[in-house]
């Protein structure tokens, strides 16, 4: 492996770490499509900030696009709760429309600059080692810095809000009544997911963001019986997929985020077949008489 290969695996692994940690809660809260929605909704936000500042991967972009994503999801939530259209229809209405707006923005105003349709769809992970910034006199990939900060922030978020997130995901009414500020924790989760989706969008594009959030977490759910272990296993699955995906992409000369997504899905199928809550185990258990 070349240093660039290692760098790509590290960036993908860090991204997997933070995505899987939040993805675990999203899977259990039945909000698995939230990152997908946000990753589509942020595109017009990113274009807008780009048009205003001329920058693509800056703190301003992340914050601006996050705010845009949060606003869109809040609007979606309002539309859903109003009952004017069904929940799934609202999802299908709002987010593709925003993505279309983003595509229009790129082709009309920003084509040829550092933002193009390919990177919006497939991400820039492959070129991440080439885009560097100066940090304490060293040239480090911008992606590594951004993803690293996002990962640290995500870990802090999950550790500090462990109890409200844990309790409100499991039993929202109890959590709210306990004074754990469960609803506030749920809203903060949304904001952090939106921010991370923006960061992930930059590396892996709009389509595969949801894979990084959800697939390792869903895999881990099949293997574990405690939330803590589930999240650790999800992070591990994310790193294994990142390494395997990067190797595969290099071997067959393909898109790295794509092969990472594929490796991730492969792990899921393995867990589905062999995991403690998987198919083989279930078939065995259904033969045993009920105790």
């Amino acid at each position: 492996m070349s240093p660039d290969d290692v760098m790509i695996v590290v960036i993908a692994g860090l991204l997997s770490t933070s995505c899987a940690l939040l993805g675990g809660f999203l899977v259990l809260r039945r909000q698995a499509l939230l990152p997908d929605a946000v990753s589509h909704a942020v595109l017009p936000g990113i274009v807008l900030i780009f048009l205003l500042t001329g920058e693509r991967a800056s703190a301003a972009t992340v914050l601006g696009a996050t705010a845009f994503g949060v606003a869109c999801v809040a609007g979606f939530e309002w539309l859903r709760r109003s009952g004017i259209v069904g929940s799934d229809a609202a999802l299908a209405l709002v987010f593709p429309a925003l993505f279309s707006l983003g595509i229009l923005g790129i082709t009309r105003f920003a084509s040829g600059a550092h933002i193009d349709l390919d990177s919006a769809i497939y991400g820039d992970l492959t070129f991440a080692p080439l885009r560097t910034m100066s940090l304490a006199g060293l040239d480090v990939p911008t992606s590594l810095v951004v993803t690293g900060c996002a990962t640290v922030a995500t870990i802090l978020f999950v550790v500090l809000l462990w109890r409200p997130l844990h309790a409100s995901t499991f039993d929202p009414e109890f959590a709210e009544l306990s004074g754990l500020r469960a609803r506030a924790a749920g809203r903060m989760l949304l904001v952090v997911v939106a921010g991370l989706a923006v960061v992930a969008f930059d590396s892996v594009g709009a389509i595969l963001v949801v894979t990084f959030f959800i697939v390792p977490a869903a895999t881990a759910r099949l293997l574990t019986q405690r939330l803590g272990t589930m999240l650790v296993v999800a992070v591990a699955a994310g790193w294994v997929s990142s390494l395997a995906g990067e190797r595969l992409a290099t071997a067959i000369d393909s898109s790295i985020p794509g092969t990472i997504g594929l490796a991730s899905a492969g792990l899921f199928v393995l867990a589905l077949l062999l995991g403690r809550r998987g198919l083989a185990w279930r078939a065995l258990r259904s033969r045993r008489p009920e105790s």
């Binding site: 409200p164 309790a167 009414e173």
Partner: protein, 246 residues
Amino acid sequence: MTKTMTQAPAALAVHELSASYGGRTVLDGVSVDIPAGRLSGIVGPNGAGKSTLVKAALGLVPATRGHVRLLGEPLKRVRSRVAYVPQQETVARDFPITAVQVVEMGRYPHRGWLRRLTRADDELVAAAMEQVGVADLAGQPIDELSGGQRQRVFLARALAQQAELVILDEPFTAVDARTESALLDVLTGLCAEGRSVVAVHHDLRTVLDRFDHAVLMAGGIVAEGDPADVLTPANLEQAYGIVVAR
């Protein structure tokens, strides 16, 4: 035990409470005082507003009007002193958690976001699980338990919280008769210690046989008081709209 119940503030005092649920007004100016130190049952037909009354009183459904006192205080001052056992459907079914972790949540209201559980907390958790007969299930994942075992675990959580008022929403659905009886024994025991228990329930027979106090609802309050006085054929006909033989 001395009979000081009449001086104690009501376990749950609701005054002119209104609440809507999904755009429909379910409660319209309901007032009721549920006495402390008793096992009280809220009964009535489906859609009578039993659960909404309890949820609005606990701030889980926004009240549009009225005010509520729990143990004589507003909710925000008594959160840790009030335990709630929700309907099983509102709890995530497919969640990776063990029985003992559920019961430990009963200590969260006392420890907040970050303070570690102490040895004393662990002892309360173990004692609560012992009391409802689930000590041997501590390490079991919750989704591998039967309905009755699950409900015992959730009651253990309320016990571990050491609340003065325990409110349960339909605690005996999907529970076998033996568990129901065992759980009722525990609830009766709580009342004997001077704590208050309020359960939304649908089985009139149990309320008549085992509860100290009954509130019969059908939109508003039809009757309340001693179960034998509340669950009369005339009241039940008014609440359920059909003639009910006792």
